[in-house]
Symmetry: C2
Amino acid sequence: MAHINLPADLPGIRGPMAFSPETAKPLNELAEILLRDDNNTLSRGERELIGTYVSSLNDCFFCQNIHGALAGHYLQCDIPTIDAIKVDYETTALSPKLKALLSIAGSVQKGGRQVTPEQIQRAKDLGATDKEIHDTVLIAAAFCMYNRYVDGLATWAPQDRQYYVERAPRRAEEGYIDFDLYK
Amino acid sequence: MAHINLPADLPGIRGPMAFSPETAKPLNELAEILLRDDNNTLSRGERELIGTYVSSLNDCFFCQNIHGALAGHYLQCDIPTIDAIKVDYETTALSPKLKALLSIAGSVQKGGRQVTPEQIQRAKDLGATDKEIHDTVLIAAAFCMYNRYVDGLATWAPQDRQYYVERAPRRAEEGYIDFDLYK
């Protein structure tokens, strides 16, 4: 049971968002710009993957599953492939640049001061732009917020992982702004 | 030196916000609603104090000083008093309810799952409403983002703590939306 009185039928972040629509608005606008804006050289799938990885480090079941399903949808790969990235991305077939960015995201999850100049240099040497590094840091930081919001209020989450896979195409189509919390 | 090419004259979060105004917008709107909205039974000073405490746990010099100065401005107390709260709020003259909320905020800083039903019950027994608990969790979660954004990009911060004290009245007057990044 959630720590406060949330709508019982809404899983994950949707309960707190229905409870507090005035804060949901900037939270969703931030997600829309960070994860979906077309003016970005990181694909939507790559950005969802960064969020998924940070959510797995934060042990947030809801976030790592819905954003993992979205990453799989965009990148056209299955959930075991996403899971393998979460466990050890360095040994996967991801691009060297994305691996360097995931390394930065992993440090941000521990704390901002954990990011080293060497990690930044590795990313730049592999072609990462300042905007890509900026967005990686802010996506990782933002998921440290979303994850804590979801779990800090003890929201519930469907345990069947297929639930998230089936919702991903609709979430990808609707985005984070104009969607119905109850659908 | 910052990890990416930020305006050299802007300290703390203002550098990344000038670099990325499209993400600065929802970040500032979230801060405005969480920390300043009048439809709230927690005072502005109490909310700034929650953000200050979380920023100190995250060891973010810029955030804990500017928000600590704002808390001091609103609560009409000096910086040593704010520092004492950061070090051990339970032994200070804060209200029992605010102490219970700071305890929740401290757990959120570690991770959402660290918040216990006992901490929530203590807050409720001391009169905390669901909205106050919600806002405490989201303020703490949001500062886990802001702190990581500021330090994950290695922004610089004035080391003279009086700098922040002197800026606080102006920041309190202008709020987080309509302010000039360069003033």
